[in-house]
Every structure is written in structure tokens, then in C-alpha cells.
């Protein structure tokens, strides 16, 4: 159990290590509130998808597993979309077109194929949730950084979810903004720095472990596996 959590949050973090889910990253990490709200919906979908597929895996023939997975994920997203529209309408207005786009987030299919199809119900649900949380903290961090540098605020748009709250102006009110951080390149810059930071931390941890000093040479540094 502990391992699953660790994998999702750090060791196999979907954004920092697996580099999956880049399209939502570009689209919704423009502000902290957007990033967190869509990640919450993504966590819900990943949890449900892993749960559904782990419980149905005995019925799914190996040869057609991918179409069945896609079908199940698409159906789940549609239902989450409808439920949001009906019961959390304010949030639905904010997230707008992004909820249906969870279908295209490769991280959902990737976890279903790599984990839920081979593991028990509890483990699979935990894996979906933890991978989702790993997605959330990275995308929230990127959203916060982009929003702060791009327009000098944090939590802008929170009044659309909690009408009594308002955003915090962290930089001077006449801060002119830094447009490129609000545009997709800003997401890539921030993600690149985060990956570099994570690799540096990982390399340093490796160096400190006494038994692994042979692997500690810079040339053997672990680089993220690029998929997607």
C-alpha cells in the first residue's frame, strides 16, 4: 500500500516521471484554482476507472481490452460531466470544456492498462487515487507559479466557487503581467524546471545511499522515461 502511494506521489509521478497528461497541463494550469478543480475531477475519474476495470477485468478478453478500457473511461467521464453539470453547476461553469477532455488524458488509460488490469480492487483504487493526487500537486504547483508570475495573483477565480472569497494580489497591483507564463510555453518552462529539480533530488538521494555509490556517477543519472 505504502509503495503505491509513494509511486503515485513521487517515484512514478505521472507528470514529473511518466510525463503523461501534458495536454491538460497546458490548458488548465493557467491558474491555481483551475488546476486544482480539474485535478479533483481527474482524481475522481481515475479512481472510478481503476475501480471499474479492476472489478471487471476477469470479463474483459485480452485482445479487445483497449477498446473496452476506452469505452469504460469515456462512459465514466460522461457520467461525471453530467453529475457536475447537475449538482456542482458553479464549478461546472468554471471547468467548462475541460471535463470531457479528461477522456484524452493518457494518464487515465495508462494506469488502467498498467495497473488496474493486473491488480485487485483495493490496490487499483488506491493506485488511481494516488496517481491522481500526484497529478494534482504537480499541476497545482505549476498553476500557482504561472499565475503568480503571469498576473501577480493567487487564487484568482476562487469567487466562482466560493463567492465569499477573493483572490490574493501578491505582486504590486500595477504589475504588468508576464504573458508568456500564461501561454502554453509557460507551462513547459515550469514543468521543465520541476523535472530538473526532481532529478537533482533523486540523484542526490542516490549519492547519499552508501551501497549504491557505484551508480552515483553523473552519467548514470536516472532520466525520466518519455512516453506520450
Amino acid at each position: 500500500m505504502n509503495n503505491i502511494a509513494k509511486n503515485g506521489l513521487w517515484q512514478q509521478n505521472p507528470l514529473l516521471v511518466q510525463l503523461l497528461g501534458l495536454c491538460p497541463l497546458l490548458a488548465i494550469s493557467t491558474s491555481l484554482v483551475n488546476a486544482v478543480s480539474l485535478s479533483l475531477a481527474t482524481i475522481l475519474v481515475m479512481m472510478l476507472a481503476n475501480l471499474a476495470i479492476a472489478s471487471l477485468r476477469a470479463l474483459i478478453p485480452y485482445e479487445i481490452r483497449i477498446p473496452v478500457f476506452v469505452l469504460i473511461i469515456a462512459a465514466l467521464v460522461t457520467m461525471v460531466d453530467l453529475a457536475f453539470n447537475a449538482f456542482l453547476h458553479d464549478l461546472y461553469v468554471v471547468l467548462g470544456i475541460f471535463i470531457p477532455l479528461i477522456v484524452t488524458n493518457c494518464i487515465v488509460l495508462a494506469r488502467v492498462e498498467a495497473f488496474a488490469a493486473k491488480n485487485g480492487l483495493a490496490a487499483a483504487t488506491l493506485d488511481g487515487t494516488m496517481m491522481g493526487v500526484g497529478f494534482l500537486w504537480v499541476i497545482a504547483l505549476i498553476g500557482g507559479v504561472r499565475e503568480l508570475i503571469g498576473q501577480g495573483t493567487l487564487f484568482s477565480g476562487i469567487e466562482m466557487i466560493f463567492p465569499s472569497l477573493t483572490h490574493i494580489q501578491l505582486l504590486p497591483a500595477d504589475y504588468p503581467g508576464f504573458l508568456i507564463m500564461m501561454l502554453p510555453p509557460g507551462a513547459f518552462f515550469t514543468l521543465g524546471l520541476l523535472i530538473a529539480g526532481r532529478n537533482w533530488l533523486a540523484a542526490r538521494t542516490k549519492q547519499k545511499l552508501p551501497n549504491q555509490h557505484l551508480e552515483a556517477a553523473p552519467s548514470t543519472e536516472k532520466t525520466p522515461t518519455v512516453a506520450a
Partner: protein, 258 residues
């Protein structure tokens, strides 16, 4: 974790006894069909369970936006109109002067049966990033009551100040320049942004978004004022029929452009 299997386990588990290819194909197809049916049924039931709330939400959302353009905070005009707006609507065909390319609805606000205002959509086709959808309310005396952007793709942090939610000036957002203004105060030839010698402010560096909204609102206001009586007279649910052929009307719009 004992439940974790080796990935290599994921190969076909039992070797299927010798069957014809056709049998296997059919069997697989039926399994896929069964999954499709089950999940379609699930989606359909969620749809039917949520449909009434979704419709109610959409109506509330529409009314909320209409209320914003129709009763600007100025005079606390809560008793401004008293008919059921959403039921008193007519359909407008695609109209060049409004920039619309599909049918839109026009709502008519009345007080005790007397016409008060028209609420309708318009499209500014020339935003920085494509179309900008607008909702306008025009009073019976020809004054633009208010204007709101309902949908746009202008650059976040730069051109999106046309939407008061994104405008950093919360007390006097840019769009409030259009509250309670008519051709009596700003003549047609002045219905432009200041950069082009007109009346309306724009933000430095993002003139295109402001210009698109300003020009579209001017054209829409002129068109509605010209056809106001016809629009109020049509019975609810009717479709407005332009008197000129659409082609000629479009040509007129083009000519009237600078």
C-alpha cells in the same frame, strides 16, 4: 504487496481450444457489444436522472446573465419587468448586422404588457482569437442598457478584460462604459474606440479585443433600434423574417463598415 502480479502475467491466460477464426471474432464482437450496451445504458440512466436539474441550471444561468444586462445595479430596477422572459422569446435567423451565423433567441421584457427592453445575442467576428459572443439589453427608448461577453478566447491576462470577471478594475470594469448609453449620447460615427477617434476607452496593448466588442455592439444596437417595433410585435415563439433578402442585408452591413 501480494496482489501485485508480474506484468508478464498479462498474456492470454488459458489457451483457447481450437476454434474457428469466425467463432472467435464473433465471440469477441459480442463481448464488446455487451460492454457497449451496459455502459450506454448506464450513461442513459445518469442522463435521465440529471436532465431536469441540468435544464433548470441552464435556465437559471441564462436568467442570471440576462438579469445582469437587464437590471444594472444603478437604480435597483428589480421591478423593471414582470413577464416570464424565457417564455417571451422569438427566434432570429442568422443576421449579418448581429454577426450571428446560426439561429439565436431574442427575449422581450415587458412590464404589465408594455414593451420595456430586448435581450439578444450578438457576435463580434473579429476578436484577437476568433469570435466574441455578446449578450445585449436594449431599452425601448433605444438606449443600450448593458452589454456582457458570454464567450471568448481572447488572451488570458491581456485581452480578457472585456469579461468583467477577468477585468482587474473591479469597481469600473471596462465593459461598464456601455451601461446606459445610446446614439443620443454617442453618435454612430463616434461609436469606436478612442484609438480610432471614437468615444470608448481601450487598454493599451490589447486594442483589438476592445475594438471588436465596440464595433459589434454599435452595429447590433443600430439594427435592433431599426427593427424594434417588429421585434416587439411578433408573437412569442415566432421566427423573425428579415424583409430584405439575407444577401442584400449582408451587403448593406459590409458597406456600412469603415
Amino acid at each position: 504487496m501480494s496482489e501485485l502480479h508480474d506484468p508478464a502475467d498479462n498474456t492470454p491466460q488459458e489457451s483457447v481450444p481450437e476454434r474457428s477464426a469466425a467463432y472467435i471474432a464473433l465471440r469477441t464482437a459480442f463481448i464488446l457489444l455487451a460492454f457497449t450496451l451496459v455502459f450506454t445504458a448506464l450513461m442513459a440512466s445518469v442522463y435521465y436522472l440529471t436532465a431536469p436539474r441540468v435544464t433548470a441550471n441552464a435556465e437559471a444561468e441564462k436568467l442570471r446573465l440576462i438579469a445582469v444586462v437587464l437590471t444594472p445595479s444603478r437604480d435597483g430596477l428589480k421591478t423593471f419587468y414582470n413577464n416570464h422572459l424565457l417564455n417571451d422569446a422569438i427566434t432570429l435567423p442568422p443576421t449579418g448586422a448581429l454577426g450571428t451565423t446560426e439561429n439565436t433567441l431574442l427575449y422581450r421584457a415587458r412590464k404589465n404588457g408594455q414593451p420595456v427592453a430586448l435581450v439578444f445575442e450578438a457576435v463580434a467576428p473579429d476578436g484577437y482569437a476568433g469570435k466574441i459572443n455578446l449578450l445585449l439589453a436594449v431599452a425601448h427608448n433605444g438606449e443600450l442598457l448593458a452589454l456582457r461577453v458570454t464567450q471568448h478566447k481572447e488572451t488570458p491576462g491581456l485581452g480578457d478584460y472585456i469579461d468583467p470577471k477577468k477585468d482587474r478594475n473591479k469597481t469600473h470594469p471596462w465593459i461598464s462604459q456601455f451601461d446606459h448609453i445610446g446614439f443620443d449620447r454617442v453618435p454612430v460615427e463616434k461609436w469606436r474606440v478612442k484609438k480610432e477617434g471614437g468615444h470608448f476607452d481601450q487598454m493599451a496593448g490589447a486594442t483589438i479585443s476592445a475594438r471588436a466588442v465596440t464595433n459589434a455592439s454599435g452595429k447590433a444596437l443600430a439594427w435592433v433600434n431599426q427593427h424594434r417595433d417588429t421585434l416587439f410585435a411578433l408573437s412569442s415563439g415566432a421566427q423573425y423574417q428579415p424583409t430584405a433578402t439575407p444577401a442584400r442585408e449582408h451587403a448593406q452591413t459590409l458597406r456600412s463598415q469603415p
